[in-house]
């Protein structure tokens, strides 16, 4: 893969992940009690008070991370945060799937995108925990890949020997944290 193509792929993936996080966040913020019900439905061995805190804070973590990814503001921090989020999601959906809980994952709300009427099947597919688990695996892989790529660029940029090659790639590929540090 040429550096140019790779850079474009990274930008596209970063924006996509950011938008997904924003969608998930707004789905929860629009309906906090339903989000709480979804969390309860996972039947986790945690006190309800803690789950309420999660229901209150989680959408905002997603919102801020999503905004940071889309705006390319401190993408490394957002990617770290997003990877940790995905790890938690993987655990929750994984245990629900393994136990055969028939619950809605409470991830995304299709109705927000304007598909209210004919999207029951799509929504059910989107919301089943098995699909959610596999989707989370893919998303986690995406986050970790971007994080690794971002870290590689910072480490390359930091070493004076490879300065020239690094600037030549990051001049064309967008997500260089070094350039963003000005803001």
């Amino acid at each position: 893969m040429t550096p140019l193509a790779r850079g474009r792929l990274e930008v596209a993936l970063r924006v996509l992940l950011g938008l997904l996080l924003l969608w998930a966040s707004v789905s929860k913020l629009a309906n906090p009690t339903a989000a709480l019900a979804s969390i309860y439905a996972y039947d986790l061995p945690l006190p309800h008070a803690l789950l309420k805190v999660v229901a209150v804070v989680l959408p905002w973590v997603e919102l801020i991370c999503g905004l940071m990814l889309v705006a390319n503001h401190k993408p490394l921090a957002a990617l770290t945060c997003g990877s940790a989020l995905l790890l938690v999601f993987l655990l929750a959906t994984g245990q629900a799937w393994a136990r055969g809980l028939r619950i809605a994952c409470g991830c995304f709300d299709l109705a927000l995108l304007g598909f209210g009427k004919h999207a029951e099947a799509a929504q059910a597919f989107l919301e089943s925990v098995g699909v959610a688990f596999v989707r989370n695996l893919l998303l986690a892989a995406g986050f970790l890949w971007l994080l690794r790529a971002g870290l590689k660029q910072t480490s390359v940029a930091a070493s004076p020997i490879s300065q020239a090659s690094s600037t030549s790639t990051s001049a064309v590929s967008n997500p260089s944290p070094r350039r963003k540090r000005r803001s």
Binding site: P32, A34, A37, Y40, V57, W60, L76, R102, P177
Partner: protein, 373 residues
């Protein structure tokens, strides 16, 4: 792209880039914003009152700790006088009236949890609108009589039609499949918030709870029939020839039922004699010491995992463990059996419909009847 980040180098690079403190700062900011937004939002999550009814705790769990020296109970006395408590439990009595919301302000009133035991008397009077939040297929396969289908999420047309038919001060009770479904909770909140209903409840036990209550009722009517029948041969357990299988087996949409199933004493008794059944007493220790079904082990409903494993030992997971408690309708047997199914992987664990009080009466005609061992 010659330089690759090694496994250890990944963490070093992550720390070196300062991403972790920044990520923690994001979480901290989210906490502040989330708490502030939630406090300001009219539909925010409430901290004080429980949004979802907790399952009822077993009665008097602390009593198990008290070393009670119980006097030996004479078998004849024990058989002769059934307690008031057991009589009261046979008749389904609503434990408490649902909260009145007639004087409620016209703004959003959050739904509350309820159970079929509370709803049933109102349903018989036609005072509530039962709303089935499951899909069309599950509804067609079986629903609570009189229930209206309104699948969650409803379309705008369905919601409008529902609202046109039922005024917003109707008492709505929403249900879905069982305790592990969340559709009723979601639909109840939707009806309260979006459609402006001021008295919405959701049935925490769902359709499964209703099925269980029906099974209990069927067991009770069998008992009445058995008591009315002339005394038969002493060896015969009442109604042994026709044990009614409870209608719990209905499982319309192939949903995995991870709740314990009920069993009647008449069904359990022959299996107990042949050792196919392990009987456990889910009541507090004092009650167990005062008298229990012969052969039953003491295993309280709120026992810790360690205690459960200790008592059940290394019995095969296929063992049919049957739990019972004080009298028909008592919660501990159902709770214990469900825990055994869910937490301890005894898929065949069941709860006995009758309790100890009914057992004593059922065995009153038997010559070998004995309360305490």
């Amino acid at each position: 792209m010659k330089i690759d980040i090694k496994a250890g180098g990944f963490w070093r690079a992550l720390l070196g880039a300062g991403a972790i403190p920044q990520a923690l700062a994001v979480v901290a900011l989210s906490c502040v914003l989330g708490l502030a937004y939630n406090a300001a939002s009219p539909v925010g999550i409430r901290w004080s009152e429980s949004d979802k009814a907790e399952p009822a705790k077993p009665a008097a769990p602390l009593a198990t700790l008290a070393p009670v020296v119980s006097p030996p109970v004479a078998a004849t006395n024990a058989v002769a006088e059934p307690t008031n408590q057991s009589l009261a439990a046979v008749v389904p009595v609503p434990s408490q009236p649902p909260p009145a919301a007639l004087a409620a302000p016209p703004q959003y009133v959050p739904p509350t949890g309820t159970t079929w035991a509370e709803v049933e008397p109102l349903a018989l009077k036609g005072a509530v609108v039962l709303v089935d939040a499951r899909g069309r297929a599950a509804y067609d396969a079986g629903h609570i009589p009189g229930a209206v289908l309104l699948p969650e999420p409803p379309s705008a047309e369905e919601l409008a039609a529902f609202r046109a038919q039922y005024p917003t001060n109707s008492h709505l009770v929403v249900y879905c499949s069982s305790t592990s479904c969340s559709l009723s909770f979601k639909l109840a909140h939707r009806l309260a918030r979006e459609a402006g209903y001021t008295f919405v409840q959701y049935m925490t036990g769902g359709y499964l709870d209703w099925q269980r209550e029906q099974a209990l009722k069927q067991g009770a009517s069998n008992q009445v029939a058995a008591a009315a029948a002339p005394a038969q041969a002493a060896e015969m357990p009442p109604q042994d020839t026709a044990p009614v299988t409870p209608p719990i087996a209905a499982n319309p949409d192939g949903e995995k039922l991870d709740n314990a199933l009920p069993i009647m004493w008449a069904q359990a008794k022959p299996m107990l004699a042949t050792g196919q059944v392990l009987l456990v007493d889910a009541r507090p220790k004092a009650d167990y010491d005062a008298g229990h079904i012969p052969g039953a082990l003491w295993l309280p409903a709120d026992a810790s995992g360690e205690v459960v494993r200790q008592i059940l030992g290394d019995r095969p997971k296929t063992t049919r463990v049957v739990a019972y408690c004080g009298s028909m309708g008592c919660p501990q047997a159902f709770q214990l059996a469900t825990r055994l199914v869910r937490e301890f992987s005894f898929p065949n664990a069941q709860f006995m419909l009758e309790g100890y009080a009914e057992w004593r009466r059922a065995e009153a005609n038997q010559p070998q009847a004995g309360g305490a061992k």
